[in-house]
Amino acid sequence: MREMLSMIVVLTVLTAVSGGLLAAVEQTTRPQIEEQVLKFQKEPAIKEIFPDATNNPIQERADVTADGTTLQVFPAVLSNGKKAVAFEAKGTGFGGPVGLMVGINIDTDEIIAVRVTTHSETPGIGSRAKEDLSFVSQFAGKSMSANFSLKKGGGDIDAMSGATVTSGGVSQAAIAAQALYKKLKPEIVKQIAN
């Protein structure tokens, strides 16, 4: 009995202390990590989505809020004078959250391009969603009201063979982006007009 009790107490205390410590480390490193993600993930993704932007979407990033939802948006002016916006949405892949940067033409509500940003998918399998552009290029040119589910779920998106869960995560992120866009578009337009 005593042995049992000591096992329970030691393990409980150990895991509790460990959890507290990790929460503290996470809190202190978060701003720095966000900066790094901006520099090494979001910036390259946005440069690929808007190769012809005449402004600097990274510098002009802003937070828009509606109904308690806050979203970081990257406004862009394209070389043909059209206005566009990019923002990141998340889905759940095989190894954790999958970030998807979505670039949208504000006037036509059409997707310009999407890119995978942060992910922890299996190298060589799920990571193809980021490295091999043939999967994400399916989204280009689609309307924001299209069905972004995978084909087996009745949608328009072909899954990558061998990486169904990752494909599902990207599709989930695109659907999340749809909801965000629907909810926040008036705010985004207002933000860009400024």
Binding site: E3, S6, M7, V10, L11, L14, T15, S18, L21, L22, V25, E26, T29, Q32, I33, Q36, V37, K39, F40, G95, S120, T122, P123
Partner: protein, 202 residues
Amino acid sequence: MAQSLVKEFTKGLWAEIPPFRLVLGLCPTLAVTKTVENGIGMGVATTFVLVFSNILISMLRNIIPSKVRIACYIVIIATFVTIVEFMMQAYTYELFLKLGIFIPLIVVNCIVLGRAEAFAGKNTVIPSAADGLGMGIGFTMSLAALGAVRELIGAGTLTVWGGSPIFEIGHGYIPFQFMVEAPGAFIGLGLMLCLMNLIGQK
């Protein structure tokens, strides 16, 4: 005392150098040693975890009930690994991108758990720290050496800390590309094990 400390430290550098003599921790050894830089990065991360988990485990060795010791060790090791992961994301993001999934996998690296079970659980704090540091440095050296061999043969360059290579074989050199692919890891490791045994054979 001082002499035995030196012994605990140096045994990890040669006599029990982890991947080559103990043949432990082969997963990261094979997977991340495409370049010297990756090898060193992985080695330093593992060294950090080894030293701190060894210290903490030896401090707690009389409190941890022996029946749940493995679970306790894993909790301690996983905590330090996650700290390393946060730190790498915050300060060396490019390296974090390259090492990716192999950082969380340090949790199940046989060397770390092996040293906890074989050494830190039975010894006092200072020898355990020396043991962890020695093993970590040995591991880092091994990974760097294997990475150097693979990068040199497979790509014809040596690169430390990003940017341009510090050493390059002339332009006429056609790299053996397979050395930076998976089979090259096995061949490279095999040859180095062979070399180590040859030197060790008296």
